[in-house]
Symmetry: C2
């Protein structure tokens, strides 16, 4: 009936004409039944104006059959006759037998074809010749196995295949061997980048089980972030990415040609978040791309990443905002721990790492305390000096030793090292109402109480030597009544990377962008 019906065509040839006729009648019956049962299903008519390949994409006669997912193949299904759609992960012929490993997403199962009652010699040969990564439908009986199949995710069962349909055939030469991309990386080679190279070379970066797990977990981060904030009464906003003026003076911005003029790509939604606060939205968040034209070629910088941004009016103290953000992070950590164990374990198989630890409530240290801890560990630094990346990492280790947490807030940064819109600390002119948050010793959020008074903002901008004309629109936003507010921006890819203990942000971006990479 269809060109993908190859295996069973061959089988049919071996059968008597009578049996064939009977089978056809049954097929017609099944088709009518299917049509009745589900409106969805139409009887396939192969229309060969566009070649037989078209039939690959269309309804089949047996379209009322249910497909069982690979992950659901467990001993409870033993002796059941089922249909599975999956890819050929590996294939190995051995005399009259052919062993396949079938894969769908993070899950794999062993499948066996053997010449005998159910499969002809031709069919086994046909199966053995199928290209890796082809997508097939198999009809099979689920069988319990006596010895666990260590190489598959479904270790207690295998499939005894009776029929195979090819849904989509892969070309014979793959851009790389998928097994190579999922080899285990031991902790002793934390900076091993082979996987990343593989990942970025291939056209299908997410086809490995590890990548499937990483990006499913990342989807969970976004979901937990938003659900928690919506429960807290936040409103989601959409901010523009094409802007007319560079927000922070014009460094590190991408330029866009915009009809007859020029524009820029937004480095942050901060101005827009703040305008929403000035418009009485009270609590807003947004999830969207953020662009940085920095020529940084490190393990943690991307030129385009996903920002999870929060801005919130507070009643009496900016610590209300810190508490909202840290609680949101804790809800994310808990949600990942409780709902994404399969994904975490899949990633850990290739990239072993310690489980992520956090405290409730979140540890909040003052900058002063951090400096004292670093000095006690031998670091020489000034009171108002910014933290270098190595010192941040060292601090992360010191905090982990002392408090047993991978997540903490560093509060009250020196005023001198923060942007002009940061609210000074009213109690000490050297410091500010600003904070960073760290996971495993790396910064994932930078935030602050913002100056919401136009005159003070003007003074602070002048103190930083900023051209007031360029930030006039920003300053004017605060002239018509502005509630005191604070916020911050989180890098999604960094959160995923650090939660999973990975070592390159390119592993947690499906299509990473850096100064040297624009494709795919």
């Amino acid at each position: 009936v269809s060109s993908c019906f190859r295996a069973s065509e061959e089988e049919q040839q071996a059968q008597s004409k009578k049996a064939l006729k009977k089978q056809q009648k049954e097929a017609e019956k099944a088709a009518k039944k299917a049509e009745k049962q589900a409106k969805l299903v139409s009887v396939p008519v192969v229309f060969d104006v566009f070649s037989l390949r078209l039939s690959l994409s269309l309804s089949w006669i047996e379209a009322d059959r249910a497909l069982v997912r690979v992950q659901d193949l467990t001993p409870e299904k033993a002796e059941q006759q089922i249909w599975v759609r999956a890819r050929i992960h590996t294939s190995r012929a051995k005399g009259k037998q052919c062993f396949l490993v079938l894969r769908h997403q993070q899950f794999t199962v062993q499948a066996l074809l053997a010449v005998g009652d159910r499969a002809s010699k031709q069919m086994v040969k046909f199966a053995a010749n199928l290209t890796k990564e082809s997508i097939i439908d198999v009809e099979a009986v689920v069988k319990k196995v006596e010895q666990k199949i260590e190489s598959c995710s479904q270790q207690d069962v295998e499939l005894h295949v009776e029929r195979i349909f090819v849904i989509s055939q892969s070309e014979a030469r793959l851009p790389l061997q998928l097994e190579d991309a999922v080899r285990s990386c031991s902790l002793s080679t934390p900076k091993q980048t082979g996987y990343v190279t593989c990942l970025l070379t291939m056209r299908l970066p997410s086809q490995t089980t590890t990548s499937q797990a990483i990006f499913r977990l990342q989807s969970g981060v976004c979901q937990l972030f938003r659900d928690t904030l919506i429960n807290k009464g936040f409103v989601e906003i959409q901010t523009p990415k094409i802007i007319s003026a560079a927000s922070e003076g014009g460094a590190n911005v991408f330029t866009v040609s915009y009809f007859k003029t020029s524009a820029y790509l937004a480095q942050s939604p901060q101005l827009y978040k703040q305008m929403c606060i000035c418009a009485d939205f009270d609590k807003v968040f947004c999830v969207g791309p953020v662009f940085r034209a920095e020529d940084s070629n490190t393990h943690r910088h991307l030129t385009e990443f996903v920002g999870l941004d929060i801005e919130m009016a507070f009643n009496y103290h900016y610590h209300e905002v810190i508490d909202s953000i840290t609680d949101t992070m804790v809800q994310i950590f808990k949600g990942l721990r409780d709902r994404f164990q399969t994904e975490i374990q899949t990633v850990n198989k290739q990239y072993p790492s310690e489980p992520f630890k956090f405290l409730e409530p979140t540890l909040r240290l003052e900058y002063k305390e951090a400096v004292a801890m670093l000095r006690a560990a031998g670091v020489e630094m000034g009171d108002e000096e910014d933290l270098s990346t190595p010192n941040e990492k060292l601090l992360g280790r010191l905090v982990k030793e002392k408090y047993d947490t991978d997540f903490f807030v560093l509060d009250k940064y020196p005023l001198a090292v923060r942007p002009f819109y940061t609210m000074p600390d009213p109690n000490n002119a050297k410091y500010s109402n600003s904070y960073d948050m760290f996971m495993r010793g790396e910064e994932i959020l930078s935030g602050a109480q913002r100056v919401h008074d136009a005159q003070l903002l003007t003074e602070r901008a002048m103190h930083h030597g900023i051209d007031l004309e360029k930030i006039k629109a920003y300053i004017d936003s605060f002239r018509y009544g502005a509630p005191p507010h604070a916020g911050g921006g989180i890098g999604l890819e960094r959160v995923t990377m650090l939660y999973l203990g990975l070592h390159n942000v390119r592993q947690t971006s499906m299509f990473p962008r850096d100064p040297k990479r624009l494709t795919p």
Copy 2:
């Protein structure tokens, strides 16, 4: 204690020194209590290096007081002494009295100050002189009123004010009068653009009650979209916005300067969604900006809008995908109807419209049927001719008359009017497995089953005269096994506009971008 303590300073002057001392003692007590009760609260020390304005942003002594929201001021709170934070919406002095309307988000309440036991003459005068849009804290007693206050959202109570603190003072001259921006627009002037002009002129586009309602509802659309899809097993993905090659031949694309080379802004996440399907994610969605460099100056075109995108592998028929999308839309419509009545009514006050009607299951018409309906209504058009915008609107009216629904799917478009990657209809070479969805006669989604076979895709591209070199990466995506799949993209701003029966997409974009508008 703080410079914002103006009203009560004046009151204090009228009081005896003894009472003042007593009050101060109480304040100190309260401060200690507050510090104990909530770690959040620190005792304010006005630090005047940066001027007294700093104190505006910091903790107050009475920081343990709860703030009641304007929307919660109901007769149940009658006779209670409470604190409210809100803006001065209007202010009117009348002899020894001052009437304020206080506003927070979509909600307003009347407040009364009268010279007497509780307020001094100076205080009433002070209140009368406060600039509109200033944010204030008032301590007041809630009083039931005998006659409904028609001009406020809280019609059954008013506030008898005892104290006022200024949290943030607005400049005296506003860019426009907010009351002007919320005047009712009758149905007889559907194209009235006064509101839009106001909206875009102001620095704070969302400060009106109408805008608050529109954007809260829009946040709901996003939430309902995602929640429904996550329940259906979809995974959220993040796709890059900076791309190296223009996906559809290079027309209508914005160019970005990217370090030493050029890049483009993505017109659609389609390629990336499809790559995720090829990587076995099965069902994916994304929410993000979409860029179109079209010089279209209409009520429904933006150069940057938010795309709600779906892509899904199906088992047997692309109608499985249509059904998933229409069910998602129905869940959105139901969620808005059930959870956002306040917002819908707030918008309707200014922009009256008929409630949005939809059917379950969603009406699906074939293109042929639509052409027949249009012809019966006097339209002359060919079988394979595309629908013009006026004909789409007329069809919307005809469908509404016949089926009583504002939402329907038009399936099986002529192959000739769809992009090269559209799967042809196997039963009729003139048509294709593609569809649009309409709300109130305007297109909100365009989608199709995609060609997932590299060779057929090549043939189709050649038939369209497309340079194969330019789309090589796209075609190559399908060489390593690709499941049959379909999808589509929805414009968020259009959905919000059409659900609410508004007439300009700029009303549903906080910071609209069109060929002539790049700010704020």
